[in-house]
């Protein structure tokens, strides 16, 4: 008896800092289908490789996204280093892991805040971002930037962090852990919050696998898949095991991210104990040649950088497959059958980064 209606969601919507547009086909309050339309932020930056040489392009790669900027730059560097047959010094690899994990912590805290905002818990939003600001301070002290680090380069890293500073960072991070454990407890135990997250936006293990979900979206559905398990950039020496939750709903994805905060800190701690003095970069000789798929785990999931080079200064092709792009089909599945009021929360649980997705 109910009539189908189409409700447009976005491109300008209060829960989205970025424009994406969904057409929600609804019957009464129930969402039957969601159809995305993107292209508002498409810049076409993959084509810039024809204008910027392979060393300069790191700066563009970092600006694909302003949240996981460091890992974007690093993945690009990994691709170049493979094509140049460069061995990155061990200290540089450890520093890369430290900055990656700091990025992950700040990104997950940002996500927690935005999610709290999506279900209308303004105070929790502010609390999460307050902790995030302290992480940004550490990042600023070690790299000079809050958003764009600029510390990764082809062959290694640009800056070192002194042993003293590392200890100081650890001490700070441990005290921030108490803070995020406290707000994490609210996300996981508060009745009203649980009411908004549990059983909402279900994605079964089978669906997550076949639809190509990545990152916390996949791990929240019980699949132990994390590109850090492949051991790139020295993750193999850190004793890494992925965080997995099995319920497959918004609550479970939230839990994955909260547990990953602690895990990231642990990884940084291991890095600091294992690190030895040494050179920060390998000298770049020659031009890249061949083709390679570099993969890394960003806060939002697996990122793929495909580079094809022919031995000149300019790459023939660079292709970036970002986690949000891969998470769109699972999102559409999770949206089908939900209540209209839950749409913002479900959209947020993939941690959408549209500028990544459209490049």
């Amino acid at each position: 008896m109910s009539k189908r209606t189409i409700i447009p969601f976005g491109p300008q919507h209060p829960v989205l800092p970025e424009p994406i547009h969904l057409d929600l086909v609804i019957e009464d309050e129930k969402v039957i289908e969601a159809i995305p339309s993107i292209g508002f932020i498409h810049r076409g930056l993959e084509k810039l490789v024809e204008k910027k040489d392979f060393i300069d392009y790191v700066f563009v790669a970092e600006r694909i996204c302003g949240i996981c900027s460091f890992i974007h730059g690093m993945t690009y560097c990994i691709a170049m280093e493979e094509l140049l047959k460069l061995e990155v010094p061990s200290r540089a690899q450890y520093l890369r892991v430290i900055w990656s994990e700091l990025s992950r912590i700040h990104s997950h805290l940002l996500w927690l805040g935005l999610t709290a905002d999506a279900f209308g818990f303004e105070n929790l939003f502010m609390q999460s971002w307050q902790i995030r600001e302290q992480i940004l301070d550490i990042i600023e002290e070690t790299t000079g930037g809050r958003v764009i680090f600029g510390s990764c380069k082809v062959g290694g890293v640009r800056r070192d962090i002194s042993a003293e500073k590392l200890q100081e960072i650890l001490k700070k991070l441990r005290s921030y852990r108490n803070q995020w454990t406290e707000i994490g407890g609210i996300f996981l135990n508060d009745t009203t919050v649980k009411h908004r997250l549990q059983g909402v936006g279900k994605l079964s293990m089978e669906q997550a696998k076949t639809l190509g979900a990545v990152g916390p979206m996949l791990r929240g559905s019980g699949v132990a898949m994390d590109i850090r398990m492949t051991g790139y950039s020295g993750y193999n020496k850190l004793g890494f095991t992925p965080v997995v939750e099995t319920a497959g709903d918004c609550y479970s994805r939230c839990k994955v991210r909260i547990r990953e905060l602690d895990q990231s800190l642990q990884l940084i701690e291991t890095c600091v104990t294992q690190m030895t003095e040494g050179p920060l970069e390998a000298k770049v000789v020659g031009f890249p040649n061949g083709e390679f798929f570099a993969r890394s785990e960003q806060p939002r999931g697996e990122a793929i950088y495909y580079a094809k080079a022919n031995g000149t200064k300019f790459l023939q092709r660079l292709r970036v497959r970002t986690p949000t792009f891969a998470n769109l089909p699972p999102l559409l599945t999770a949206l089908a059958g939900c209540q209209l009021a839950d749409v913002p929360v479900i959209v947020l649980t993939i941690d959408p980064c549209i500028s990544c997705a459209e490049r």
């Binding site: 424009p19 498409h42 076409g44 302003g66 502010m126 958003v147 500028s355």
Partner: protein, 148 residues
């Protein structure tokens, strides 16, 4: 006077930014930098807004959207181009799908450079925008008086 300059409302639109500046805009509205102490409120409705805050560069698809937001805002209004992409296109200006800075479609009053923009620069820009709002309002009032 007063009401306008003591509580300017901001509308934020993300052109084709990398997210860096957008998140900094939000961070500035948070308690730490607390732009809200100047009475600034982030609104989603262009008809409530006094300041249009643009991040990211302009492309063919968002140009009419930016124009329409600007047209819907009541006078006096101030446009802030935040971040290097919004001021000139920045590192992406050579991309085929990027037209350039925000001034390609709307008149920009305040350019705020930075990649990503520094919170301090944003606060400074907001304070300048308040001054500009006052000036524009005074000029409009004077023009009205002359008519009479």
């Amino acid at each position: 006077m007063g009401a306008l300059s003591k509580s300017p409302w901001i509308i934020h639109y993300d052109g084709s930014s990398c997210n860096g500046c957008d998140i900094e805009v939000l961070a500035v509205l948070m308690p730490r930098f607390d732009l809200e102490r100047f009475g600034v409120v982030n609104t989603g409705n262009p008809k409530h807004a006094d300041i249009l805050l643009l991040t990211g560069s302009i492309n063919h698809q968002n140009a009419p959207i930016v124009k329409s937001i600007y047209d819907q805002m009541p006078e006096p209004k101030v446009v802030m181009a935040v971040g290097i992409c919004a001021t000139s296109g920045g590192i992406f200006r050579e991309c085929y799908n990027v037209l350039g800075g925000a001034d390609k479609v709307v008149p920009v009053d305040i350019y705020v450079p930075g990649c990503a923009v520094r919170p301090e620069a944003l606060i400074d820009a907001a304070v300048q925008a308040v001054g500009l709002l006052d000036k524009k309002r005074a000029a409009a009032l004077a023009a009205e008086k002359e008519k009479e």
